[in-house]
C-alpha cells in the first residue's frame, strides 16, 4: 500500500485541531488545510501522488516519490524556485523563498515516524476523519452496519443455482419465454 493519509471528510467537524497539531508538530506554517465547500469542511493535505505534477516540473529533481514515504523533498537539491507550488493541482504545497523549511508540504510527519510515532493530525483528530490506516474507514462502516461484513453472506448465495436443478439457468430461461 502506498503511503498517504486517508481522509473521511464526512466525519470532519471543522474543528481545526489538525491544523493546530500540524503547526505544533512542525513549527511555523501549516501543512493541512481545511477548505470549505458550501460551509462543509474538507481537510486537504498532500496526497503523495505517484505521478505527481510537482515532481514532474521540479528542475532539480528535488521531489521524488517513494512507496513508503510518499513524495519526499530532498532539501539539499531544492533551489526554492517555487514551480512545484504552481504545479500542485490541490494547492497544498507552498514555497517560502527565505524562511525554513523551504517547501511547506505534508511529509507524513517524517521526523515523528522516525521516532516510531504516528502523524500528529492522525492522533489529534477527535472524530478520526484523518487516519493512516488504509482499512480503518471500511472497518468502521462495517461496525456501523452500513456495509455488510464480508463473512455475513457467502459468495455462493449470490451465484445462480447450478444447471439442471430447480431454479437454475434452464428454469430461468423457461420463465422468461413462456410458451
Amino acid at each position: 500500500m502506498n503511503a498517504f493519509l486517508h481522509v473521511d471528510f464526512r466525519r470532519c467537524t471543522g474543528c481545526f485541531a489538525c491544523e493546530a497539531a500540524c503547526r505544533t508538530a512542525h513549527g511555523g506554517a501549516c501543512r493541512v488545510h481545511l477548505a470549505f465547500a458550501d460551509g462543509l469542511p474538507v481537510p486537504l493535505m498532500c496526497r503523495q501522488c505517484e505521478n505527481s505534477p510537482c515532481a514532474a516540473v521540479c528542475p532539480e529533481e528535488a521531489l521524488v516519490w517513494d512507496k513508503t514515504h510518499g513524495v519526499v523533498l530532498l532539501v539539499e537539491r531544492c533551489t526554492r524556485c517555487g514551480l512545484c507550488a504552481v504545479a500542485c493541482p490541490f494547492g497544498v504545497l507552498s514555497v517560502d523563498p527565505f524562511g525554513r523549511p523551504n517547501v511547506v508540504k505534508c511529509d507524513l510527519c517524517l521526523g515523528r515516524r522516525a521516532e516510531g510515532k504516528r502523524p500528529a493530525c492522525v492522533l489529534t483528530c477527535p472524530t478520526e476523519a484523518i487516519t493512516d490506516e488504509p482499512d480503518r474507514p471500511l472497518k468502521r462502516r462495517r461496525l456501523a452496519g452500513s456495509v455488510p461484513p464480508i463473512a455475513a453472506r457467502p459468495f455462493s448465495e449470490s451465484l445462480p443455482a447450478p444447471m439442471g436443478k430447480e431454479g437454475g439457468v434452464q428454469g430461468g430461461f423457461r420463465g422468461k419465454n413462456p410458451r
Binding site: 533551489t79 526554492r80 514551480l83 504552481v86 494547492g91 497544498v92 507552498s94
Partner: protein, 152 residues
C-alpha cells in the same frame, strides 16, 4: 593584487528569465530582491557582485544568469542597480496575483506534454492555491452528495 569589491558583472538574460525567485533565495548576501506589486514582479540586483560565489547562477532553473569576469585592467563601470520586471498572472476565480505569466505558460506547456491535455492538474493552473483547494473541496463534496450519509 588586492581584491577589489566589484569583481564580476551580473548579466540577466531577460528572454530566459521567467520570474521564479530561486536566485533571490539562493544569494547568501541577499543582494537580489523581488517584490510583487500591482501586477508586476520586480527584481532588483546589483550590476557588479563582489562575492566569490555563483549560487544565483547555479540555482537558476533556466540558466538566465551569467557572471562575467571584469578584467583587472579594465576601468570599473559605475555600480548601478539592475531592475527588471515580469507581468504577474491573476487567479481566474478570485483575481489574486499568484505567479508570473511566463511561469504559468511554461508549466501548462510542460504539464500538457507530460500528463495529457485532459488532466486535472492542467485545468487548475489558472487558479491560485487557495481557489484550487476550494475547487477540490467542492469536487469532493459534490461527488458524495447523492449518497445518503451511512454513518451514525
Amino acid at each position: 593584487m588586492k581584491e577589489t569589491p566589484a569583481d564580476r558583472r551580473l548579466i540577466i538574460d531577460l528572454e530566459k528569465c521567467f520570474g521564479c525567485f530561486a536566485c533571490a533565495a539562493a544569494c547568501p548576501e541577499k543582494h537580489i530582491a523581488f517584490t510583487d506589486h500591482e501586477g508586476l514582479r520586480r527584481f532588483r540586483a546589483p550590476s557588479l557582485c563582489g562575492a566569490q560565489c555563483d549560487a544565483c547562477r547555479k540555482a537558476c532553473p533556466v540558466d538566465a544568469i551569467v557572471l562575467e569576469e571584469v578584467a583587472s585592467e579594465e576601468p570599473r563601470p559605475a555600480l548601478i542597480e539592475l531592475t527588471w520586471g515580469l507581468p504577474l498572472t491573476r487567479c481566474r476565480t478570485c483575481g489574486e496575483a499568484f505567479t508570473t505569466e511566463k511561469i504559468r505558460q511554461s508549466l501548462s506547456d510542460k504539464l500538457a506534454a507530460l500528463l495529457g491535455s485532459a488532466d486535472l492538474a492542467l485545468d487548475r493552473i489558472p487558479l491560485c492555491p487557495s481557489c484550487r483547494r476550494d475547487d477540490e473541496a467542492q469536487r469532493m463534496r459534490s461527488a458524495t452528495r447523492t449518497l445518503p450519509d451511512p454513518l451514525p
